[in-house]
Point group: D2
Chain length 342, copies 4
């Protein structure tokens, strides 16, 4: 019998992408779809690409509308997921697409988000050492941020093998869907097309502590992250260019071996052949992450680059992958591996 | 037991899209992949988005490499498919992605393509009256052109119900993948981004007679087509804006009823609710066609607009849909209905 | 002594483009810049591309702030320009970038805009027969709509020479800046990139009667316009594809001669050499209009296509060109003829 | 009397942009336009945006066609400019848009370009300390690379004031025109739209030694550059994100003061107000460079970001600016300061 799934925040980009993936998932059945200001609206008017759900009408997000489902995805504003989850009970698998339960440090949370910490849930990045195991049987999942997903996949093998120094410099370009569907002047098509723009420069982006949290335990020392996100003129995709000083004696062969071992058995993370670099266009609509790494001998730095689709592996796909693990389903179920290219 | 499929021209956009769809098709197994100048190259270097096939190496296109398959897709230059098909034998299902066998009129072929006509194959647009039936059991399929697919779906209900006069005016915008992967200066990213440009204006585009061929039998009189294609700054998608004078007495209700009836039972063609118009972004990567129609009372014209993904419903998806019908498989097997949006 | 210019609505796209052009105009000096909700804001925060004006602060739009200038450009919401102009007095040149004073028919105005007609001002499309003369010495100018500019330039020589029938079919693609800077969900970058979408289909677009108004007097009979605008994934540019049935006996030579004569002496409208079609990218940032025309013998239609930059020739450039004429300055002063390409 | 200018390589992007700027330059007159494979072609067919030059025909690049001009711009393949310049004589101002004469180190040249070094010419980045003076009266100018221009402007004040450590990490995104007009599969619009892609990763990009050459003398110690260029889905623009460890005791105030002083009197380089970051869209078509800098206290790094138009300040505009200086003309003559936005 199919598992019944509800999606709260079905009118947003993250919620819509969860629905796109679940429509191709053989073990689930889509139940309640909820929204806030959009409650009462046909989904076809909000997400015209989800044809089989066009005639569904959004319900208000509440304990009542979300009750009676086996799985609930939450695409809610910051600070709302804990209360909703509590009302749903402990047997329901609650997958939080938002940030509320990602950080383990309450101090970091309060510094970067400016509100009380709501507690930590199992972190949905199964490729990180130990995380896949921790997700098995979980009934709460904190879906990682899109940038931390891209950055952690690019860098963790280097840190886990202690090949690089603990100061990482990261510049990432993201498609505009990462900024969500709320209308803001700088997100108008006229503004973003033909233009690259940085934001959150100088250490202030909220995803910064999440990156450090993922990498530091593997490094065995605190990793400091210098992170600069930029907005690129494309709807989807993250290209994360990450570098750190190579530890003394590290060779290109040693480096490559670390990545080959880390990703050899992973279904969704692919280390490209030497000399081929990841393009975000290759993972458009796919749950794959493409990774490549090189040693810049002259500058003495390891440069690792990853490409993901911010809405798939960076949000909805990572969420479904973790859901599969939590429920004991095959990890790849319902998840596209091929990109829609060109 | 899985059906074995070969794809000739696997390095091009059409061939690549066929492979993307077949990788999600439960009844087929991908066999030989062939190319011309790219023979000997890893597919991962040419189609980096097709991860499961990355290590496949292209073979040369020949009767030998294509032999031993149940189904062969041909993405070849004009004039080559008839000879290849003959060598494959009558039991193999040959699906031609090119133009060679689309036109029934040898005179039209010779006028627009400037070479001898290679004969007509069953035409793979199952939504056209009578065509679905004709495809059942077929072992040769001519996949329609991308523009004729979009235009025929936008206009045929109006012609079939004799609601419009036989002079159609069509302006269509296409993504650049419709122009293929051959490198030409005007297709450089620097040239196409930020620019709309017409081409083949004044009646010369090769898809013009194919549109007339589809519409005239339904109209019961020869339909004259004025067709202007334009190149739009996007990788995929066709938006076809089609109009014709309304016949006397035609009402908006009568018009809408004709489209509702034509598409009510179609799995891939969706008539949108009144007032909602098709966006190509909604069908990105999907085999769906979105259609809307209106009566402009003042101008006395019926305006019908369709949106498709030129590489899916306009090429590879239409091809797989027709393949399914020919083989007696469920028509929708392996075909995405949801678009990848935003 | 320099002429002093004020711009009301300086934070919008039209106002910003007027300023960009005026900064390169040798005879003017930029005075008051006003806004509504943006009053009090640095222009550098709103229009970061206008470096020399970055430290200017927007004043509120009022008779007081606009007083004391020789020329006032109005980029205001519908219905506001008449009252402002009255307060400025008859000696001030008032150039209205909005629609209020374009239509000569009060009935058309009321039908399409749903408000009382505010009267007609001299129409700023100097290339139309008789209009250049009418603009000389004018102190009120109604700047044409962007679509009517593109369409009138594409079609008027054919109508003026009575070469086509009075039923025009027009499909135009516009960059997103034509929709203005007001934030609306469908104008988000995530929505418009990679997608073409129609709007105002079926005769409802407000620019339709303006096109008919321009063409009918030249045709000597009422011209009926079927107009479908589409939104293209680019910031700027209009490509207008226009066609009408050829009158009996019209030849390609006759047609070409009509256009060559109409535009031979025009500084900004260029008839391209035979076989070369206009790209919007060629007029990016320029006041030029590129035009081409062909006779489709088979369909019996004349197809005329124009490309303009909607913000320049379609709005601010046309406005400055008409200002030059009104003031007796050289018509081309301060207006770029070259596009910014690629 | 106007100075006569010839442009060799007039069919390329750099040559075309030089022409666009020179058409607005009051002191020059455009003479011979030359090309290699395009000799004999109308410029209107190659550069349709340069309307006043549409009927010019390209001549072959040779000493004869380039003779008799006061100024010659060279947009030639690597290795050709020295021989051409020698034939032109010492009185002619030769402005090389290519790389041949940028590097002072023959060893660096040979390592990165694989050919014999052709000698060093005065380097056309007048904002670098001492360079403006060196350009006065010069008759040979090496126009800097586009990336080194962006990076040097972002970082030099920090190095000149010894505020940062000599290991710079740079990630830059460039529009596709930076890759030139030669047709290559990865530059097709279908490939670049919707995708970010890195290239030349790991220290191999030819602009790397040029950056070090600009920064090291100011730093007073050898600066090591880790440079990763990426291709962004836009025609123009470079966004350079540059960082280096802050030296002990450096404060945000000290940092800002260094940049304010460096750029306070510069006509084309603008330090943005605190908190406002550069967008490439703001400098589209303009010779301006926008710069911003911040101190990331937590990571201990200075982050400096610049935005330029790669074809203007990064190539043709920088070339004309240096030409003006060399000839004793006002430095800003003929150079747009405002961007074409949105």
């Amino acid at each position: 019998m199919a598992l019944r799934v509800a999606v709260a925040g079905a009118s947003g980009y993250a919620g819509g992408e969860v629905l796109r993936l679940l429509l191709g998932h053989p073990e689930v059945e889509i139940g309640a779809l909820t929204g806030a200001s959009n409650a009462g609206t046909r989904l076809g008017a909000l997400q015209p690409h989800l044809l089989p759900l066009a005639d569904r009408v959004l319900e208000p997000t509440s304990a009542e509308t979300l009750a009676g489902h086996d799985i609930v995805f939450l695409g809610l504003p910051h600070g709302q997921s804990a209360a909703v989850a509590e009302q749903l009970g402990e047997d329901v698998l609650v997958v939080d697409l938002g940030a509320d339960h990602r950080l383990t440090s309450a101090a970091d949370w309060e510094q970067f988000y400016g509100s009380p910490h709501a507690g930590t849930w199992p972190y949905g990045l199964p490729e990180l050492p130990g995380h896949r195991q921790a997700l098995k049987g979980a009934r709460r999942i904190a879906v990682p941020g899109c940038y931390p997903t891209a950055v952690s996949l690019a860098l963790f093998p280097a840190y886990a093998e202690r090949l690089v120094e603990p100061e990482a410099v990261i510049v990432a370009a993201s498609g505009t869907s990462g900024a969500g569907k709320a209308v803001k002047p700088h997100l108008l098509g006229s503004e973003v097309m033909g233009s690259m723009s940085p934001y959150g420069v100088g250490g202030g982006h909220r995803h910064t502590p999440e990156m450090a949290q993922n990498l530091s335990p593997l490094a065995g020392e605190p990793v400091t992250v210098s992170f600069t996100p930029t907005l690129a003129p494309m709807p989807r995709g993250i290209l994360a260019t990450c570098s750190a000083k190579a530890k003394p004696g590290v060779t290109a062969e040693r480096l490559r071996a670390a990545y080959a071992e880390a990703y050899g058995a992973e279904p969704f993370v692919h280390l490209l052949p030497e000399g081929q670099w990841p393009h975000t266009g290759s993972v458009y609509g796919s749950n794959a992450a493409l990774v490549q790494v090189a040693l810049d001998q002259h500058a003495g730095r390891v440069v690792a680059i990853s490409a993901i689709d911010n809405l798939v592996k960076g949000t909805a796909g990572g969420a479904v992958q973790s859901m599969n693990i939590a429920l004991g389903l095959p990890e790849e179920l319902g998840l596209p591996l091929n990109g829609v290219a060109p």
